[in-house]
């Protein structure tokens, strides 16, 4: 084996998350022979892999937004609450009921769907803006600043829904979380578009450079003429929008909005996904692909725990062990130890 090439490969930031994901998939394939099979039915692609991707979509969206916030040295623990608020706004505005008109069944909304969607995303952006202003203008520590909305947000969501779980009766809305486009779940297309947009902003505008510079060394970035305050506010607002998008996917998928439970603890999974993907919580360099990988690891883990019949009691323990293992191999010391040993064994 070519040692130099192997060493270069293991040093790439996405190597270990990818290896872990591959290992998880392999374990699944071992215990479940049909795991990798894909089938084409009614113009849709079916299979366990598609299912994992589909279920991971909201987490991927939130993790992508979280990546930007973490790159600015911040953190946003309110995304779960923002998911609930966006879901509540969308569900309340759409509502929907089945009406028989002239002997025909038709779906009627309270507000037209595009307006409802824009309103939900707009409210989510406002939530993010609030966080950003608290962090960058008022100067509150990010974890405390976003904790405010994390706690209050659930209350706001319940105020919007009057404390009820709102069920949605409007078929076109279900397309966001359940529909298929060109054979693939529509939610995946949304995440793909989000990733493409962010990759464009990161690499083909100066945003990536500015965010990484002001995250890695705020004082130097300021003296170089970068307006970190506006950047940070924008990062939180953007993170809010991605949470809003996730809120639409989730409420559409379960056809209801639950102010109490929608997106519960999603913030922790999102932070975890970003960390697993190799973006440091200390800010600076960030990886969008890494965060998507991190979200996929978390969802694959959840899915395989269920499908392998691991008792629900030990579910969280297994999850913790895998996460611990990934964090370990991400640490430079352990990585040096691992690659050193492997090379020695290989040679």
């Amino acid at each position: 084996m070519n040692r130099a090439r192997l060493a270069a490969l293991t040093r790439s930031p996405q190597f270990w998350p990818l290896a872990v994901l591959a290992a998880l998939l392999a374990v699944n394939g071992l215990f479940n022979p049909g795991f990798f099979s894909l089938a084409w039915r009614d113009g849709h692609l079916y299979g366990a892999l598609v299912d994992i991707l589909n279920r991971a979509a909201p987490l991927m969206a939130v993790a992508l937004g979280m990546t930007v916030v973490i790159a600015t040295r911040g953190i946003d623990v309110s995304v779960g609450a923002t998911v609930a608020i966006a879901a509540a706004v969308a569900a309340t505005l759409i509502g929907g009921s089945l009406v028989i008109q002239d002997g025909q069944q038709t779906y009627v909304t309270r507000t037209s769907m595009p307006i409802a969607l824009l309103a939900a995303l707009g409210v989510a952006a406002l939530c993010g803006l609030w966080n950003g202003v608290l962090v960058a203008v008022v100067g509150i520590q990010p974890i405390i600043a976003t904790l405010i909305l994390m706690v209050a947000g659930r209350g706001i969501a319940q105020l919007v829904t009057n404390g009820q779980i709102i069920t949605i009766y409007y078929k076109p809305y279900f397309f966001i979380g359940n529909g298929y486009l060109l054979g693939l779940p529509f939610a995946l297309w949304l995440v793909g578009a989000l990733l493409a947009l962010m990759a464009w902003l990161k690499h083909l505008t100066a945003l990536g450079l500015f965010i990484q510079a002001s995250g890695a060394n705020p004082a130097a970035a300021r003296l170089a003429g970068i307006d970190a305050r506006t950047l940070i506010v924008a990062a939180y607002a953007f993170c809010g929008v991605t949470a809003g998008l996730a809120g639409l996917m989730i409420s559409s998928n379960v056809k209801s909005a639950d102010g109490n439970n929608a997106g519960l603890l999603l913030e922790l999974d999102a932070i975890l996904a970003v960390t697993l993907g190799g973006t440091a919580l200390s800010g600076g360099r960030f990886s969008l692909r890494g965060s998507v990988l991190g979200a996929l690891i978390i969802q694959t883990l959840t899915t395989s725990i269920y499908s392998l019949g691991v008792p629900p009691e030990v579910n969280l323990v297994v999850k913790a062990v895998v996460v611990f293992a990934v964090c370990l191999v991400q640490s430079p010391q352990v990585r040096a130890l691992l690659t050193g040993r492997r090379l020695a064994a290989g040679g």
């Binding site: 003429g225 970068i226 307006d227």
Partner: protein, 535 residues
């Protein structure tokens, strides 16, 4: 034997007034201390001798090695070589705690006590008197009160420390240090955050302690305070102890000369002096100042001219530079560029106007360590172009390569993280960052500090070449010789105000080193141009 030898060595090479044989024995003797950090020497044969019952000032410029010496003395760093003796016994403290146990206590510039605890708790922290396993709060109060009384301080021990003024906090820190039965008390820039009356109060406490037999090492950059308080002083430069003197024997001028060093040669002055600068100022500041930072001053900077800012550490050089660049917001005065008013609310405004600023602290304010050399170089240019006017990959590479070649930056390739480069090459990259914006005015704050001699020369050559091409430069350096060799005009700052402006147009020896030294030291009134021309 060591102590005896050091007395024989009391003559230091460029010491004009060596300490004549003094009878009092030294309580603390540091001899031949060496300390290097990853190859960079911080202390070279540093020495210090402290006597019981004296206040001893430790003087030196930025990077002279004062803090390293203190950290070695108090056990923060182990020395690479050298001996330390306390009352004749060799010591080698491995930690600040061990140093404290030996009787060496330190009060740092920034009070490092717990603001949320009471005065008494702070004094007793870490060694609370106990009774049957429980903290004896009455004894805590009692010992705190007696510690404060020893210093004749009237402070309520029950008060929360954070509610007290900074000066009082400083006193409490000293009370704590002294209550540890300190024989040696190190005060690191204790007056830098105090006003006049508070300073006077601190001095009283210092005198009380001195009379009680404590040896006090007083680190300060205020000449007046050193002369007012100290019995003897030690001067450091570039990690070496360059002199030990009785204050009464050492004129200010000689002290400043030892601190800033002599210029090596005055030969290349003439060539530079000939260069004609633009008659109309490019940038003119009128009454520019900021409360608590620098007093309002007038400054003119012309194209094709190097304006040097000279003065000691703490004289307001960096603060002035930051005001000119909008890094700190001025609360006084106006700035005009080309005669048009210029509003400087942030570095962004300065960047847009064509100003550039290489800050003093390369690591904290200059480089973005984890980004590549290329990204570091193009950062300011991209910031000026904005988010969407993005430099393409090819353009980025060409730009970075151009400056890597131009300035001779030694790096494997432009994609290497800048944190892995040596200090000199990092400094060149930061210079490149600003040159890439094609500035009209470049402010250089200690651009040659902490880098090797060759890189120093290359950077200065490059800067002067640009100046000849019409760039206006504001140059700050702790090395007076460097400032005088480079500048056509020099503004001298002392105690946060402009005290003189000297220019070559006044005559070729207007920038005479002795004359500038006198002004820096405050040894005579800032003589007008006549003095230079007449000589």
């Amino acid at each position: 034997m060591c102590a005896r030898r050091s007395r024989a060595h009391a003559f230091f090479t460029d010491d004009p007034r060596p300490v004549t044989s003094d009878t009092a024995p030294a309580l603390l003797e540091l001899h031949g201390l060496h300390k290097a950090f990853t190859g960079v020497a911080a202390l070279v044969d540093a020495r210090l001798s402290l006597r019981a019952g004296e206040i001893h000032a430790l003087m030196g410029q930025n990077g002279a090695g004062k803090s390293t010496l203190i950290k070695v003395l108090t056990g923060v760093y182990p020395p690479d070589a050298g001996t330390m003796r306390l009352a004749g016994q060799p010591i080698r403290p491995g930690s600040p705690q061990q140093a404290q146990a030996l009787g060496i206590s330190t009060v740092y510039q920034e009070v490092n006590l717990c603001p949320n605890l009471s005065v008494a708790e702070n004094i007793a922290a870490g060694r609370m008197p106990r009774r049957w396993g429980w903290i004896d709060w009455r004894a805590v109060q009692r010992s705190a009160r007696s510690a404060l009384e020893r210093l004749r301080l009237d402070i309520d021990p029950g008060r929360t420390l954070g509610e007290c003024p900074v000066a009082v906090q400083q006193m409490v820190a000293i009370a704590r240090a002294v209550s540890l039965d300190a024989r040696v008390l190190v005060l690191d820039e204790p007056t830098s955050s105090l006003d006049e009356t508070e300073t006077a109060r601190l001095f009283e406490v210092m005198r009380t302690l001195r009379d009680a037999g404590v040896a006090i090492l007083f680190v300060t950059h205020f000449l007046d305070q050193a002369y007012a308080m100290a019995d003897r002083l030690t001067v450091m430069r570039n990690g070496r102890t360059v002199g030990e003197h009785r204050c009464a024997d050492l004129p200010r001028l000689a002290l400043v000369e030892q601190m800033v060093g002599r210029s090596l040669d005055a030969g290349d002055l003439a060539a530079r002096r000939a260069a004609a600068s633009h008659p109309v100022p490019l940038l003119a500041a009128r009454g520019l100042g900021r409360r608590g930072s620098v007093e309002p001053m007038d400054l003119d900077v012309r194209g094709g001219e190097v304006l040097g800012l000279a003065g000691l550490l703490g004289s307001g050089r960096t603060e002035t530079a930051r005001l000119l660049f909008g890094a700190d917001r001025a609360d006084h005065g106006t700035v005009t560029l080309d005669g048009r008013p210029l509003v400087l609310h942030s570095p962004r405004d300065a960047l847009r106007a064509g100003l550039a600023f290489c800050p003093e602290e390369r690591k904290t304010d200059g480089i973005v360590a984890e980004l590549s050399v290329r990204e570091n170089i193009l950062l300011a240019l991209q910031a000026r172009r904005g988010v969407f006017d993005h430099l393409g990959a090819a353009e980025q590479q060409a730009l970075a390569q151009r400056f890597i070649t131009l300035l001779g930056i030694k790096t494997a390739d432009a994609g290497m993280p800048i944190g892995q480069l040596s200090g000199g090459n990092q400094q060149k990259a930061i210079l490149a960052r600003w040159l890439a914006t094609e500035p009209r005015l470049l402010i250089l704050d200690e651009p040659t500090r902490g880098i090797d001699v060759a890189a120093k020369q290359e950077i200065m050559d490059q800067v002067l070449k640009l100046c000849d091409a019409g760039l206006a430069i504001v140059f700050i350096s702790s090395e007076l010789g460097e400032v005088l060799r480079t500048s056509q005009r020099v503004v001298v700052l002392r105690e946060r105000r402009k005290v003189a402006e000297l220019g070559l147009h006044e005559g070729h020896d207007a920038l005479d080193e002795q004359r500038v030294l006198r002004i820096i030291a405050g040894a005579d009134a800032p003589a007008p141009a006549r003095a230079g021309a007449a000589a």
